[in-house]
Amino acid sequence: MSLVKPLISLIVLVVLAISLNTKFGSVPPLGKFFDPDAGFWANAERSLPDTDELNLDAIQGEVSVYFDERRVPHIFAESEYDLYFVQGYVTARDRLFQMEMQTYDAAGRLSERLGDRTLNRDLSTRRMGMPYGAEKAIELIKEDEKTWSALNAYSEGVNAYISSLSPKKYPIEYKILDFAPEEWTPIKTAHLLKNMTRTLAGGSNDDRTSNTMAYFGDDFIEKFFDVKPGLNDPIIPPSKTWDFDRVPVHTPDTLFKPASALELENFDRPEGVGSNNWAVSGEKTASGFPILSNDPHLGLTLPSIWYEVQLHAPGLNTYGVSLQGAPGVIIGFNENAAWGTTNTGADVMDWYEIKFKDGSKQEYWYDGEWKPTTMRVEEIKVRGQETVFDTVIYTHHGPVSEIESDINEEREPTYHALRWIAHEPSNDLKTFFGFNRMESYDDFKEAASHFVAPAQNFIFSNNEGDIATWISGKFPNKWKFQGRTVGDGTDPLYDWQGWIPTEHNPNIKNPERGFVSSANQESAAPDYPYYLDDDFAPFERGRRINELLAGMENITKEDIRRMQMDNYSYHAATILPEMLEWINRERLSDTELEILAEAEAWDYLNKAELKAPGIFRWWWSNFYNGILSDEYSTTDASLRWPSRDRLIEVIKSEPEFEFFDNIETEEVESRQRVVTDAFKETVEELTDAYGEFGDNWNWGVVINNDVDHIAFIPGFGAENVYSSGNSESINATRGSWGPSWRMVVELGLEVKGWGVYPGGASGNPGSPNYDSMLEAWRVGELYELKFMKEPPEEYLYELKFSSND
C-alpha cells in the first residue's frame, strides 16, 4: 500500500492553507481576509451598536456617552480625567487606524508597517527633525500638569479600547495591511501636533528665492516679491495703530549669496491649504449677538481629519471638532464663547548653508570658530527587511541635509541646516484647553498666548458681544526679508535673534467695521513693525469676505451659511476681461469661438454646472506658463514663481513685459500671441481630457474632486465628487482639497452651532456612517449641532463607563 497519494493531497492542503495565511506583497492573507467570521466581512456593520455598559479599573466615576443621530458622541463625565479617558476611548473606537497612521507618519515610522515603499517618506521625516521636535515638545508638556494628565488619561482610554479588541474586531485596514494596533503613548499626541506644523508651516522658498535672485536679478525679486498686490486687504485692518516700538535686531550689511544654486527637498505648499474665518459683531446681526464662521481648508480624506465631539464635565462644556489623537476640542464653542482658526503663512522655516571643517562633519564654522556638531542616529525599522540606520548631523540651527548639487560646476555636495519652528518645545494643546473653557476676551488672549506652531489666525466671539483676532504663534524677530533666501550658517546675524514678544503679535478687538476675518492673507498692513514673510495667500478670498461682510446687515446664520458657499472668483474678475480683450479672435475656429463665448458670458462664479470655470482655469494656467515657463526652464535650478495676483498686475500694466517673448523662437511674441496660443492649447487639452465640448466640460467634473481614503485604498474613498468651488473662492473646494469642516456659531443666551464635514463619525468603510455627511457637505447644507447642557432624553444609543471598584 502506498502513502504517496494521501501525502500529496496533504501537502497540497498544507501549502494551500499556508499560502492563504500569508501576505504576498500588498495582497493580504486571503484565507484570513475572506473568513466571514473574522476577516473583512466582520467589519460590515449590520446593526447599530447596542447600548452598553463597561466596567473599567481606570475609570474614577461614572461616564455616559450619548450618541446622537449622526453618531456624534456627547461625553458627560464627573472628572476631567474620566472625560479625556473616554474621549480617547471613543475616538479610537471610531478612528483607530487613522490615529495610528497619522502618528506613524509623523514619527517617520510608516515603513515599520508598510515596508520599503514608504522609506523615503520616513527618511525625510527624520531628517527634518520631526521626532526630535516631538521629543522636545513632550518635555515641555510634562511640566504642565494639566496637559500632561489629560494626555495620559487620553492614552489610557485609547489603550483600554485597543486591549478590548480581538483580531476579529480590528478595523478593516489592519486586516488588509496585516498588522496589529500598538499601545498608544502621550508622545504620539506630540507627533500628531508636529505633523500639523509640517502640513501648515512646513513650506519654504529659501532656495528658490536665492536661485531666482542669482538668475533673474534683484530687480525681478523686487518686482514680484517685494511689491504687494494693490488689492491686498490684510487680516488686521490698516486702521489699527501699533503703539509699541519693535524689539531691534541686527541686520547684515550685505545679503549672503549661497555658494551654488541648489535644490532642497520640495517644501512647496499645494494651494488648497488655507482657510477662512470671520466673526461679525451683534450690531450687524439679526439676533444682536455675534455670529462666528470657520472653514479650515485641508486635504479631504475619508475618514475626515476631524472628529466631532461634545465634552461635558464640571467646569467644562464644549462642542466642536477634535483631531483624532489629541484630547480636547480644536475648533468649536462653549456656553459662552466660540473660536475659529486659519493658518498664518509666516516664514518659520529657514535654511542655512553650512561649512564643515572636514568630511567627518564633526565641526562647523560659526562666528569665527569651529564649533562641534551633534549626531542623532535615526533607527527606521522596515517591514520584511533590515533596519535602516540614518545618522543626522545637527548644528545649533538644526538638522543638516546633504544636497547632491548637480548644478554647481564642482558637483560637490552642499550642506544645509534647517531652523524650523517645529523644533521648538511647545505645548499648543494648552491653548485649546483654554479655548474650551474661556468666557471673556482676556481668557481668549491668555489662552492664545501659549500657542507656538503652526501659527494661527484665531478669531473669537462671546456672549458679551466681543469679537477679536489674535495672530498667534511664536514668530522669530527677523530683519526685513530675513530667511526668504538661504542664510549664512557661519554668521550669527542670520540666526533667529529672538522672538517677537507675544503682546506685539498682530491683533485686534472690536474693530469699528463690525467684523474680524482672515483667509491666510497678509497678517497686517505694511506699517506693522515686524517682518513676518513676503509670501502670503493671494488677496482673493480675504478681500471677497471683507467686501461681503462690509455690505451685510441683519445677518442671520443662513446668510453666513450661504457665504461659506460663495463661489465668486476674484481671480477671474481681475484678469478674464483683459484676456478676452487681448485674444486674437481671427485665429480662432468656430468651435473655439463658441467656447470663448462661454467664458465671455461668465459671471465669475465657480459653479459645478458651468463650463466657464474650467475653461478659465486651464486658460489662465496655460497663459501663466506661456509667459514664464520658457525663461524658467533655461536652468535646472528650482526657481520661485510669482504669485498670480502680482503677475496679473504686471501684465496688465506692462503690455511690453519682456517675458511675453518666447525665448525659444526667433520671432518676438506679443501678449496677444501668448494669450491666444494659451487659449487654443486649452481647447485642445480639455478636448483630450474630457472629450468634445459639452456637458462633460462642466466644472463639477473638471474640478476633479476626489475624497480619497487616507491610505489610498481603492474603493474606500469617494471619487469625482461633483461640486462647485475653487481655491480662490470662499468655497475653496478643488481637487481633493477644500473646506474640511464648515461651522457657524450664533452666540447668545443659548449658543447655537451648525456644522458639516465631508465624511461621517465612523472610520469604518463598512458602516453607512462612514461618509453619511458627504452629500450635505457637497451641496453646502449644515447640520444643527446638538449642544447639550444636560444629559439628553433622546439619543441613538448610549455607552456607559463605570469603575470596577
Partner: protein, 112 residues
C-alpha cells in the same frame, strides 16, 4: 449529503472560536470516516464550506446593504460584490475540498 452537512456544521462551530484554517479539520475527519471516492469526497467537502462561507458572506452582504462588499469589489477590481461573495465561497470550498480528499485517501491507504 450527510457528510456535507456534518462538515458544514462542524466547520461553522470551529470557525467561531478558532482561526479560519480550522475549517480544514472537519473535512479531514469526515473524509476519513465516510471513505468515499476521491472526486466525490473533494466535491462534497468543497460544497460544504463553499455553501457555508458563501452563505455567511451573502447574509452579511444583505444585512449590510452591500456597503462593504461593494467597496471590497472595487478594491479587488472585480466589479461586482457578488463576485466577492463567490470568491469567499471558493476559497473556503477549496480548503475544505482538499481536506476531505486527504481524509478519504488516508483511510484508503492506511489499514484499519
Amino acid at each position: 449529503m450527510l457528510q456535507t452537512v456534518l462538515i458544514a456544521i462542524t466547520a461553522f462551530l470551529l470557525n467561531i472560536i478558532f482561526p479560519w484554517w480550522s475549517i480544514a479539520i472537519p473535512g479531514l475527519i469526515f473524509g476519513y470516516l465516510f471513505k468515499k471516492k476521491a472526486h466525490v469526497s473533494f466535491g462534497w467537502g468543497f460544497l460544504a464550506v463553499f455553501l457555508l462561507w458563501g452563505g455567511q458572506a451573502l447574509y452579511i452582504h444583505f444585512a449590510n446593504n452591500g456597503i462593504l462588499s461593494t467597496r471590497i469589489a472595487e478594491m479587488l477590481g472585480v466589479g461586482s460584490p457578488y463576485l466577492v461573495i463567490l470568491i469567499t465561497g471558493v476559497l473556503g470550498g477549496l480548503v475544505s475540498g482538499f481536506a476531505t480528499l486527504t481524509g478519504t485517501l488516508f483511510n484508503k491507504k492506511v489499514p484499519s
